[in-house]
């Protein structure tokens, strides 16, 4: 299929992009890597009147470590992050997740900001942001603001971003010596959206784990924290943690798996990821 007719504008600056978004002549969409947007346009699932291309804006891409945080510009490509020594060292959970995202050609164009803003519930990066207790920088006609990951994902493909907002960067705490991360997902084929996935972060705490954050993806409308399981895992009881998932999650079935299978696989993932969190300690 071919997309419905749309106008195209190449934003010269962030302010220009926001100005273009603010025009009252109908729905506009931001184009970053285009790896989800162009497909939805071509299938006519989305028919914006204006496409605002962010790719010409300087300063929106790049990875920086400052003030104990890793800041990733919204236009940073997956491939760039995958090759980044800073990501590998200071954001090891994202480094673990990146190879699971699509295929090389997709990672060459797709952006981290685009993935977070699109907020596909089966995507890896939104769950990582949530597991890491990260935050999102947003620019708008009224100024800049920062939203915590826990408050960012609102519903199916719905986020804290308003129609005139531009996501400019994400930030996650830089990993400390006692930071432990784990990541695993089940996808029928490598590179597919996960049937179920789990991104996890914790602090090593004596013989156990503290501050456990478990962010599941592919099991609901948004990436989901499994808070009861987090508590059980902090208490050091994996069997109880797996049992607690029954009250944390209630996945619906889709074309790849029934809800019951997803629930079962969530438990399998928890055991595997918990092992990663523990193994990383020794």
């Amino acid at each position: 299929m071919k997309p419905s007719p749309f106008a195209y504008a190449k934003a010269k600056s962030l302010d220009h992009a926001i100005e273009l978004l603010s025009r009252p002549d109908g729905e506009a969409r931001l184009l970053a890597g285009g790896q989800s947007l162009i497909a939805t346009l071509n299938m006519r699932l989305s028919a914006p009147k204006l496409l605002i291309d962010l790719n010409g804006i300087g300063g929106l891409a790049g990875i920086a470590v400052k003030n104990g945080q890793v800041e990733i510009g919204a236009l940073t490509r997956h491939a760039e992050a995958e090759r980044s020594a800073d990501i590998a060292r200071h954001a090891p959970l994202i480094a673990l997740a990146l190879p699971h995202i699509g295929h090389a050609a997709i990672r060459n164009r797709g952006t981290l900001g685009g993935s977070i803003a699109f907020a596909d519930p089966a995507a890896e990066l939104p769950a990582c942001l949530l597991a890491l207790d990260g935050e999102v920088d947003i620019a708008s006609p009224t100024g800049k603001r920062t939203v915590q990951a826990d408050d960012f994902f609102k519903g199916l493909f719905e986020t804290a971003l308003g129609p005139r907002d531009v996501l400019t960067a994400i930030r996650v705490p830089a990993a400390a010596d006692d930071t432990r991360v784990g990541f695993a997902e089940f996808a029928r084929r490598h590179g597919d959206y996960a049937m179920v996935g789990l991104a996890a972060c914790a602090q090593a705490d004596g013989k156990g784990l503290g501050d456990v954050r478990l962010a599941y993806f592919g099991v609901g409308a948004v990436p989901l924290r499994a808070k009861k399981a987090e508590t059980r895992l902090t208490e050091g009881n994996i069997d109880d943690a797996v049992k607690a998932l029954a009250s944390d999650l209630d996945p619906s079935g889709d074309v790849q798996a029934t809800g019951a299978t997803k629930m079962h696989l969530a438990g399998v993932l928890l055991r595997r990821v918990a092992r990663q969190l523990m193994e990383a300690r020794s």
């Binding site: 299938m43 084929r189 490598h190 798996a257 029934t258 019951a260 696989l265 399998v268």
Partner: protein, 798 residues
């Protein structure tokens, strides 16, 4: 994927001095394809060409009450909006029946639905515009008023008294039924020590070609000629069908098939939207183009399989199989596909079940029913994966029940290699097969005993690996028995014309066609060898009904065995012609000479006598120097059709080694082997690629591919994200081995190899999964594809 060399020795009978038979020469078209210089139909642009898009029914079954085209007709770029009734003034409907499938019935199908849409995706209106985008915009403006009708979706209830009949012109939803009884199945089951009975399910899936279906039609009213550029497997068949339904003569139609990006049986059928595109060109008197997009492909490219087979086997404690019984039910959509019909797959299931084995006691029933889903028809290895999985699944379940090794039970029942000619339980005739040699080769290739020991050791560590097998027979080189006897004008024979050019190179015009499998290379190898020139002195011309001998095209693994033999014979004939005139020039006896590597030589000594360039120069430019009465004939044509056997059956055996993650229900494929016997191997690399590609498509059926419909007839996963084609990362290394039993029906002795992989892989993988899970007491899995859902359910984990 690791490529393991296992090339058979070059056959001496065909080993002429510059023979290419049995050699892995690269494809001549490789550079063109790799450099992006191929010409697909999508690349064809003609002056005044208009683009066609279709409004398609969102309902599985609906009455079309009215169509409002007013707004669409006024949209920018729109040239015409045409309904089914309007198009019916230039094209007649068709009915997909063959007389040799007795009782098969179907209803007339129109290029664009008139009054009623019978599946979700059927075209109900065409919009023709300057660009595809404008045509799609126009489609969005067409208002169709539908009255939804009850949809028939479940084959199990399609024949029930409370189910509506889809076509009022037909009494019921039964398209075709075949019952076959051979030997004495009741006696066989009575004599059995053990009987195993189960139901096998095969999910609907489809071919997913890299290049979707595409067509450009150009009706030239001045010449009264229609030129159709089409990505088809059978140009002459399409020429006939365009003529028949557009009320033209065949000679008024030229079908041109250039590069085609994969076919797998998808592109050998009549598609309503392609027929409509051709009719629109005639109606509008300008070139029209239609390229199916991926979503259209999923809802209109033929689907395949979707069989439910209740099956039973009787076996004695010594492993002797005493009887077979199957009851096959398949749903084929609302129409039997034209002109090959949708009865062939079920018919093949009846023909092929039990095929490799000696037990003659066999009872079979197959029923083919209509339903309101996309149409189903022949896709790579038609019927074979079903018959093979049923047969091989039964055998391994029976072996388990009597406590016998799965290879041993096969050894005790496979038709002996020296027992040919022979026949299968359905009466299919085998010229010569090599089941036992193939099994022995496989046994040593895979180190079966070693793998069993490894499996046993790992089970103690909680790692569950499985080994599965599938012996198979494959239909190749079909004679007229396939379609011609049923009244379809589909050529079983094929021709080749070879012409010497002015410099001693040759042109070979062939009726077979290329869709990526390497037919062009095989034809070049055959003709280069039999004539006597290097491959780079051969130009192969194919895919043009104005310029090639009449032929069937490429399907049913026929191009090498039939088209290759015609090219071989034509090359030989031209060699005789050239030697005759060379004899006149050289004052030598033609029978004492040969052509080797482009030079006429003395056959006994190999001494060079005259170059082909010199022969051509004399014959074309200085014929006055030839003796009076000598006329050089530097073109030769030969045709070939198998006559002694209806089909050149091939055989083989596959094995799969895999590991099941019993926590997650995921299957990891560790290794796959296939030993097959396609007779003379013309190009080992191409044969191995065919086998590997076929195995991968079979693995797709076993683990991944499934067209999922809901109960209202809506396809739920018609896109490349949700419909899972097998991808390289999940594929195992596939080792290919050969046994060579040439057919005596041709001089070349080549049989087909295109479908062997697909025939055996699904059953083989199924058996391996069940072997892996056996110690855990899981009920055998028999419902393809084997998803984590199903495996976890079998393990009682969900």
């Amino acid at each position: 994927m690791k490529i393991v060399e296992d090339s058979p020795p070059i056959l001496t009978a065909l080993d002429r001095p510059n023979s290419y038979i049995g050699r892995s020469v690269p494809r001549p078209n490789m550079a063109r394809l790799m450099q992006g210089r191929a010409q697909y139909v999508s690349d064809v642009v003609l002056p005044r060409m208009a683009h066609v898009a279709f409004v398609r029914s969102p309902h599985a079954h609906a009455k079309i009450k009215s169509i409002d085209a007013g707004a669409a007709k006024k949209a920018p770029g729109v040239i015409a909006v045409v309904t089914g009734a309007e198009l019916a003034t230039v094209i007649t409907p068709w009915v997909g029946v063959l007389t040799h499938l007795k009782g098969l019935k179907s209803a007339p199908q129109n290029a664009i639905a008139i009054d009623r849409a019978c599946w979700a995706g059927e075209a109900v209106c065409a919009v023709v515009a300057r660009s595809r985008a404008e045509a799609e915009d126009g489609c969005g403006l067409v208002g169709v008023d539908y009255e939804e009708l009850p949809a028939v979706t479940d084959p199990e209830t399609a024949l029930g008294p409370s189910t509506p009949v889809i076509h009022p012109s037909i009494a019921d939803n039964l398209c075709f039924e075949r019952v076959h009884v051979a030997g004495d199945p009741d006696k066989g089951f009575a004599e059995a020590d053990a009987v195993v009975e189960t139901t096998f399910m095969f999910g609907r899936h489809t071919g997913v070609c890299n290049e979707p279906r595409a067509i450009v039609a150009d009706w030239n009213a001045g010449d009264a000629r229609l030129t159709v550029y089409q990505g088809t497997q059978a140009p002459h068949m399409m020429q006939n069908l365009f003529a028949k339904h557009l009320s033209l003569e065949e000679h008024q139609i030229r079908v041109v098939t250039k590069d085609v990006g994969g076919s797998f049986g998808i592109k050998v059928h009549t598609y309503a939207d392609e027929m409509a595109t051709v009719a629109l060109s005639k109606l509008l008197k300008r070139p029209t183009k239609f390229v199916a997009d991926r979503i259209e492909s999923f809802v209109t490219d033929i689907h395949a399989r979707d069989h439910r087979v209740k099956a039973k086997i009787g076996v004695k404690n010594d492993g002797t199989i005493t009887a077979w019984e199957i009851d096959d039910l398949t749903g084929i959509g609302p129409y039997s596909v034209y002109p090959r019909t949708s009865g062939i797959e079920a018919n093949q299931v009846v023909n092929l079940t039990g095929g490799p084995y000696t037990c003659p006691n066999y009872r079979a029933r197959a029923r083919v029913v209509f339903q309101n889903k996309n149409v189903m028809c022949q896709y790579r290895a038609v019927g074979h994966p079903i018959a093979t999985a049923v047969t091989e699944g039964l055998i391994e379940l029976a072996a388990q029940k009597i406590g016998m090794d799965p290879l041993e039970i096969r050894r005790r029942n496979l038709i002996a290699d020296d027992a040919h000619p022979s026949q299968g339980p359905s009466g299919i005739k085998f010229e010569a097969l090599s089941h036992h040699s193939a099994l022995a080769h496989l046994d040593s290739m895979m180190n079966y005993a070693g793998l069993r020991a490894e499996q046993e050791k790992l089970r103690k560590q909680g790692i569950y690996r499985g080994i599965g097998f599938a012996s198979f027979v494959e239909v190749t080189n079909p004679s007229a028995a396939f379609y011609g006897v049923g009244g379809a004008r589909i050529s079983a024979q094929d021709g080749a014309t070879v012409r010497l050019d002015g410099t001693g190179a040759i042109f070979c015009h062939t009726g077979v066609s290329e869709q990526g499998q390497g037919a062009e290379a095989v034809i070049a190898q055959c003709v280069a060898t039999s004539f006597g020139v290097a491959m780079d002195r051969v130009r192969v011309i194919m895919g043009d009904t104005d310029n090639t001998p009449y032929g069937g095209g490429t399907w049913a693994s026929r191009a090498a065995g039939i088209g290759g033999e015609a090219a071989w014979q034509a090359g030989k004939a031209l060699r005789q012609n050239v030697l005759a005139v060379a004899g006149s020039i050289l004052q030598a006896k033609p029978e004492t000479m040969d052509i080797r590597n482009g030079i006429v030589v003395d056959a006994a000594t190999g001494a060079e006598r005259i170059g082909l360039d010199e022969v051509a120069r004399i014959c074309y430019f200085r014929p006055d120097t030839l003796p009076v009465g000598v006329q050089a004939e530097l073109v030769a044509t030969r045709h070939y059709v198998p006559r002694a056997w209806a089909f050149a059956f091939t055989n083989g055996i596959q094995a799969s080694y895999l590991e099941v993650d019993t926590d997650s229900g995921f299957v990891k494929l560790l290794k796959h082997w296939c030993v097959e016997d396609c007779g003379t191997v013309i190009n080992p690399q191409l044969v191995d690629e065919q086998v590997r590609g076929g195995v991968v498509q079979g693995i797709g059926a076993a683990l991944f591919e499934h067209c999922l419909y809901d109960e209202r007839g809506q396809l739920l996963n018609g896109n490349m994200a949700d419909y899972l084609v097998p991808m390289a990362v999940e594929m195992p290394d596939i080792e290919v081995g050969h046994v060579v039993t040439p057919t005596a029906d041709s001089e070349l002795g080549a049989k087909g190899a295109g479908e062997a992989g697909t025939a055996g892989a699904p059953g083989c993988v199924m058996n391996a999964i069940n072997d892996a899970l056996r110690p855990l007491g899981a009920a055998p899995l028999t419902d393809m594809p084997f998803t984590p859902d199903k495996i976890l359910q079998a393990l009682g984990k969900v």
